[in-house]
C-alpha cells in the first residue's frame, strides 16, 4: 500500500546570548570566564539577606542595540520580573527576568540561504535576564556550586517557528553570532557558553490530503552550531519515524523536552511537559521600571553599524565579489572594516579581496586573531593592492610583502624594494632577455610561428624561460607584448 506523503519541518529557536559587559547585570562583580570557583561573587549575586540589585545600564543599552539590529520595536516602558524556581545554582531561588513587558519585540532577522538569497525570520521578543551559576558534580555524594556566572547579563531571543530546515537553523545561529560580534555586545564564543540554543521542533505531515502535526519537542542547551544542526536533523527523522510507526500527533503527547547526546548523536527524552511550570512571575519590587526616552534611544541608535548581512550583500552587488568571498570578509567586523577602508583608500575591490582572504586570513589564523586585527593600516593595504594593479609587483609576491608588512610594520613600497620583488617592466632590458631566449630555443620559436596546436604551448614555454632568466622579476604582461611583437 503506497500513500502520498509530504512533510515540512517547523523550527523556532530560543537563544541565550551572554553580553560582554565589564560587570554583572545587577552588581559590580567582574564578568570573567575560567576563574577560580566563587571568586567573582559579592553579597548581591550570592543572594545574601538584605541585598538589592542595581541595573547595569551598559547591559541594558547592549540589549537595546541588539533589539534595534533585530528590527524590533523598543519598549518605551519596560520592567523586571521575578521568575521563581528552586535550583542550587540560583541563590535567590528566583531569576530576575522580563515577563510581559520585554525591552524589545516584533522584529526579524535576515539570514543568508545557500541559494545566495536571504530569508527573514520573525523575532517574537528579545529580553534581558541574569544567568544562573553552575552545579559541579564532582565530589562523591555531594554537588558543588560555582556562582561566578551568576548574574551575568543574558539576552534571550525568541524567534517564530519560521525555519524549515536544519541548514536554516544553522544559518540563523551563525548570522546572529556574526551580528552580535559586529555590534560589539558579545564575544559569542561558543566554547565559553556565550551562546546557547534551544530549538522547538515539529513536523507538518500531509498524508493522502490530510494534515497532521507531530508533537513539539524542545531540545535543551545546545552550545555548538554542529550540535544544533545535527539535533534538528535527527529530530526531523525521529519524529517522522514515530509518526509512521505510531501515528503520534500533537495533543496526544504534548510538548516534551529532550537533550542532545553529543557522542551518540541522538536526542534523549528528558521530561514530559504535561503542563507548563508555574514560575509565579511578578514585578520585582527592588528594581524600578526603565523608561526609554527618545533621546536615549537615538543615542543608542547612533551606535548601530551596517549589519554583516547587509555588507555581504553590498560586496556582491557593488563590488561583484562572490557570495563566498563576501561572506568570508564579513565574518568579523574588523576584517570587513579594513576591507571597506582600503576600498575607500583606492584599492580595487577584487584585488583587495584576494589579498585579505588569501594571505590576510592565513596569517590571522596562525596568529589566532582576525585579519582586521593584524595592525595594518587600510592605506598600506590599499597601496599593496595598487602595486599589483599597476604591475609594480606580481600578484604572486603580494603574499610575501603582506607577511613582511605584518612582521615589520613597514610600507609595501619599501618592502618590495628590500625584498627585490619589483617587477622589471623596462622594455629595452626585457627585450635583450627575450632575444637571448629566442636564440637559444629555435625549436620553440618554430612551433610558435608555425601556428596550430603546439603554438600556444610553445609561447608559454618561452615566457617561462624569460621569467626564469629574469629571476621572476620580469613583468609577464610586458614580456608577452614583446613576444607578440617579435613572433606575431
Amino acid at each position: 500500500m503506497s500513500s502520498d506523503l509530504h512533510y515540512k519541518l517547523i523550527v523556532g529557536l530560543e537563544i541565550h546570548v551572554q553580553l560582554c559587559t565589564k560587570s554583572k547585570m545587577f552588581c559590580g562583580c567582574a564578568v570573567e570566564f575560567g576563574q577560580k570557583p566563587n571568586s567573582r561573587v559579592c553579597p548581591v549575586c550570592l543572594g545574601m539577606p538584605g541585598v538589592l540589585p542595581v541595573m547595569n545600564k551598559q547591559a541594558f543599552e547592549y540589549a537595546v542595540l541588539v533589539g534595534l539590529a533585530l528590527n524590533c520595536e523598543i519598549a518605551q516602558f519596560t520592567k523586571w520580573d521575578r521568575k521563581s524556581y528552586y535550583y542550587p545554582d540560583l541563590p535567590k531561588n528566583y531569576q530576575i527576568s522580563q515577563y510581559d513587558l520585554p525591552l524589545s519585540a516584533n522584529g526579524y532577522i535576515e539570514i543568508p540561504l545557500e541559494s545566495g538569497k536571504t530569508k527573514n525570520i520573525s523575532i517574537i521578543r528579545a529580553h534581558l535576564e541574569e544567568d544562573a551559576g553552575k552545579n559541579l558534580h564532582t565530589a562523591g555524594n555531594f554537588s558543588q556550586v560555582d556562582l561566578n556566572r551568576t548574574g551575568t547579563p543574558l539576552l534571550e531571543i525568541v524567534t517564530e517557528p519560521d525555519m524549515n530546515s536544519a541548514a536554516e537553523v544553522r544559518a540563523l545561529a551563525v548570522e546572529l553570532q556574526r551580528m552580535v560580534r559586529f555590534l560589539g555586545v558579545s564575544e559569542a564564543d561558543m566554547q565559553k557558553g556565550h551562546m546557547r540554543f534551544e530549538p522547538n521542533i515539529n513536523l507538518i505531515i500531509t498524508r493522502d490530503g490530510t494534515e497532521y502535526r507531530t508533537p513539539i519537542v524542545e531540545i535543551k542547551n545546545l552550545n555548538s552550531f554542529r550540535a544544533l544542526e545535527r539535533s534538528v536533523d535527527y529530530e526531523q527523522a525521529r519524529q517522522l519515524d514515530e509518526f509512521l510507526e505510531n501515528g503520534v500527533v500533537m495533543g496526544m503527547g504534548n510538548k516534551t523536552t529532550r537533550g542532545w547526546d553529543d557522542e551518540k548523536e541522538i536526542t534523549v527524552l528528558q521530561r514530559e511537559k504535561e503542563e507548563a511550570h508555574d514560575y509565579r512571575y511578578f514585578p520585582d519590587p527592588d528594581l524600578v521600571p526603565v523608561k526609554m526616552t527618545p533621546q536615549w534611544l537615538s543615542e543608542i541608535q547612533g551606535r548601530l553599524c551596517e549589519l554583516p548581512i547587509k555588507r555581504q550583500l553590498r560586496y556582491v552587488d557593488q563590488y561583484k565579489l562572490s557570495d563566498y568571498d563576501a561572506g568570508v570578509l564579513t565574518a568579523d567586523r574588523s576584517t570587513s572594516d579594513l576591507f571597506d577602508e582600503a576600498v575607500k583608500a583606492g584599492a580595487e575591490p577584487k584585488r583587495l579581496c584576494n589579498i585579505i582572504t588569501q594571505t590576510g586570513l592565513k596569517i590571522a589564523n596562525e596568529k589566532g586573531c582576525s585579519a582586521g586585527d593584524l595592525g595594518l593600516k587600510a592605506q598600506s593595504v590599499a597601496n599593496l593592492a595598487g602595486m599589483i594593479e599597476g604591475g609594480t609587483i606580481s600578484a604572486g609576491s603580494a603574499g610575501q610583502i603582506f607577511e613582511a608588512m605584518v612582521e615589520t610594520g613597514k610600507e609595501p613600497e619599501v618592502l618590495a624594494e628590500e625584498l627585490n620583488l619589483i617587477q622589471k617592466s623596462d622594455a629595452g632590458e626585457l627585450e635583450a632577455i627575450v632575444d637571448k631566449v629566442l636564440a637559444d630555443n629555435p625549436k620553440a620559436v618554430d612551433d610558435v610561428t608555425g601556428g596550430g596546436k603546439k603554438s600556444k604551448k610553445a609561447r608559454g614555454f618561452l615566457l617561462g624561460q624569460v621569467m626564469q632568466k629574469s629571476k621572476g622579476q620580469a613583468n609577464p604582461k610586458v614580456v608577452s607584448e614583446i613576444l607578440v611583437k617579435k613572433l606575431g
Partner: protein, 488 residues
C-alpha cells in the same frame, strides 16, 4: 542620666559634661538589671560599644570633629545586616547567620559616631504585631510584663521604653514601627518609602518595607532622620535627592507652622476602643486650641487595606524568603537525603508558623490562575488607596487617627487567632500601601496605665512637616515624659 533624650545626651557628651563611656556603661548596667525581664535584645555588644564610646570621648577631648550621634547608645532591629555579630531576623533559619556587609543605615549610624549596643528582638522576619512570632525569645511590654510590646519592632520599642538604649531603628512594613511605639509609649516614625535606604534590611515585603527611628521624643526622631535619610545608589528604590531633598530635620523642627488643617476619618476610626478614641479626640482638641482647622473626610478604600496588604506583602515575602533554603547559608537540615530535601526539611524545621503561613498565602496569590484575582486586584486596590490619600492631602496638611484600635494586649491573647492579630494593624497599613510617612506619638493612657499613640500621616516626603506637627503636640503635653517603671 537615663532620663535624658538622645539629643540631650549628645549635647552633654559634646560639651564633655558626660562621657560616652559613662552613658554606655549606664545603659549596660540597666541591661544587666532589666533585660532578663524585658527580653528586648537578641544580642548585645558590650565590648564593641565601650570601645566605640571610648573612641568618641577621646576624639571629643582632642577637639576633633564627631558625628551627629556622637557617643549616643542606640539599638538596631535584628533584621539589619551587620558585620559584627549575627543577623537573625529572630528566625532559627538565620540564627547563626553572620552578614559579610553592613546595611547602609548601619554604615550611616557608625559614621555619625553612634554607639551600637545591641540588636533587638522582633517577630520572625518582621511578620507579626506582637513580637510573639520571634523564633528566638519573648519580649514583654515594659509598662506591663504580662503584655506584648507590639510588633514587629517590639524589641526596639521595648528597649527605648525600658531605657536600654537612647534610640533605636525599627522597620515598618504594615505598622511595625508605629504600633509597638504606641504600645510602648515612645515615638515611632515610618518615613516615606524611598526616603531611607533598604540596602541591608532583610526584606519582608520589599515594596512596603521602610526603616525608621524609634525614640523618646520627636526631636530625637528628627535627629535620627538627619543621620539615616537620603539617596543610596545601592538601593534603586531610594529616591533621588532632586525629587526628595534631604533636610536638616532638626533645624526645620523649630520653624513655625500656621494655618494647619487636619483631616480626620470618623467612619474609619470608629472601630477603635472607646478609651483610644477618647485620647485621640483630646489630642485633636490640643491642635484645635493651637488654631488648627479640623475637617472630616471620607476614605472609602481604607476598608480594603488589610486585604490588599496581606496579598501584596505575602506575595513579595514568598519570593524574598525563597533564598532561605539551606544551600548557601543558614540552617541546613541534618536529615536531608537529596537537594530537594535540603530545601523542604531545612525550611520546615527552621521557619516559624506565621512565616510559613505567609509564604503559603503569597505563593498562592502569585500562582497562575490566581494571580489576576488576588495579586493584581490587590495592586489595583493599592492604587485606589493612594488616590484616596492624594485627594485628601489636597485639602489638608495631615491626617490624624489612632495607631492601633487597642492598647497593648496580653501575651498569648491573640496568637491562635491570626485574623484578629492582623486587625491590630488596621490603621497603620494604609500608609505603607500608599508609601507615605506616618508617626506615632504618645497621647494618653488607658485605665490600665497602658500608653496610647496618636498617628499622624503626611504626604510623601513631608517628613519635615510631619515632625513639626508632631512636635507642636509634644510641646503642649507631657505624655512623652512619662516613663515605664523599672520592672524586675
Amino acid at each position: 542620666m537615663e532620663e535624658l533624650s538622645a539629643k540631650e545626651l549628645r549635647d552633654k557628651i559634646a560639651a564633655r559634661q558626660i562621657s560616652s563611656l559613662e552613658a554606655t556603661e549606664a545603659v549596660f548596667k540597666r541591661i544587666d538589671k532589666l533585660e532578663p525581664v524585658i527580653g528586648a535584645y537578641i544580642s548585645t555588644y558590650h565590648d564593641l560599644a565601650l570601645e566605640k564610646a571610648a573612641d568618641v570621648d577621646r576624639r571629643i577631648a582632642a577637639g576633633q570633629s564627631v558625628g551627629q550621634l556622637a557617643g549616643v547608645p542606640v539599638a538596631l532591629k535584628d533584621n539589619m545586616c551587620t558585620t559584627f555579630g549575627a543577623t537573625t531576623c529572630a528566625s532559627r533559619i538565620l540564627e547563626n547567620f553572620h552578614a559579610p556587609y553592613n546595611a547602609t543605615v548601619v554604615e550611616k549610624l557608625l559614621a555619625a559616631d553612634a554607639v551600637i549596643v545591641g540588636k533587638a528582638n522582633m517577630d520572625e522576619f518582621a511578620m507579626g504585631s506582637s513580637t510573639e512570632n520571634s523564633g528566638l525569645k519573648q519580649t514583654i511590654n515594659p509598662w506591663d510584663a504580662s503584655r506584648v510590646p507590639g510588633g514587629s519592632s517590639g524589641g526596639s520599642c521595648a528597649a527605648v521604653a525600658g531605657r536600654l538604649c537612647f534610640a533605636a531603628l525599627g522597620s515598618d512594613t504594615g505598622g511595625s514601627i508605629r504600633q509597638p511605639a504606641s504600645f510602648c509609649g515612645v515615638v515611632g516614625l515610618k518615613p516615606t518609602y524611598g526616603c531611607v535606604s533598604r540596602y541591608g534590611l532583610v526584606a519582608y515585603g520589599s515594596s512596603l518595607d521602610q526603616i525608621g527611628p524609634i525614640t523618646q521624643t520627636v526631636t530625637d526622631s528628627a535627629l535620627m532622620m538627619n543621620v539615616i535619610a537620603g539617596h543610596d545608589p545601592a538601593d534603586s528604590t531610594s529616591v533621588d535627592e532632586n525629587i526628595s531633598p534631604v533636610f536638616d530635620y532638626l533645624e526645620k523642627l523649630y520653624e513655625p507652622l500656621d494655618k494647619l488643617t487636619i483631616a480626620i476619618v470618623p467612619q474609619f476610626a470608629a472601630g477603635a476602643d472607646r478609651q483610644v478614641q477618647k485620647a485621640i479626640t483630646e489630642a485633636i482638641d490640643v491642635y484645635k486650641k493651637l488654631g488648627a482647622e479640623i475637617i472630616e473626610v471620607n476614605m472609602p478604600h481604607l476598608d480594603y487595606a488589610i486585604a490588599a496588604y496581606y496579598l501584596i506583602a505575602t506575595a513579595e515575602a514568598s519570593s524574598n524568603l525563597a533564598r532561605y533554603d539551606g544551600v548557601h547559608y543558614g540552617h541546613r537540615s541534618e536529615k536531608a537525603e537529596d537537594y530537594i530535601e535540603v530545601y523542604s526539611k531545612s525550611r520546615a524545621e527552621a521557619f516559624g508558623k506565621e512565616v510559613k503561613r505567609r509564604i503559603m498565602l503569597g505563593t498562592y496569590a502569585l500562582s497562575s490562575g490566581y494571580y489576576d484575582a488576588y495579586y493584581l486586584k490587590a495592586l489595583k486596590v493599592r492604587n485606589l488607596i493612594r488616590a484616596d490619600f492624594t485627594g485628601v492631602f489636597e485639602k489638608c496638611d495631615c491626617i490624624m487617627m489612632p495607631v492601633s484600635p487597642t492598647t497593648a494586649f496580653k501575651i498569648g491573647e491573640k496568637v491562635d487567632d491570626p485574623l484578629t492579630m492582623y486587625l491590630s494593624d488596621i490603621y497603620t497599613i494604609a500608609a505603607n500601601l500608599a508609601g507615605i510617612p506616618g508617626i506615632s506619638v504618645p497621647c494618653g493612657f488607658d485605665d490600665n496605665n497602658l500608653p496610647i499613640g496618636l498617628q499622624i500621616l503626611a504626604p510623601a516626603f513631608g517628613e519635615d512637616k510631619l515632625l513639626r506637627i508632631a512636635r507642636m503636640f509634644e510641646n503642649q503635653t507631657d505624655w512623652h515624659k512619662r516613663k515605664a517603671p523599672d520592672i524586675s
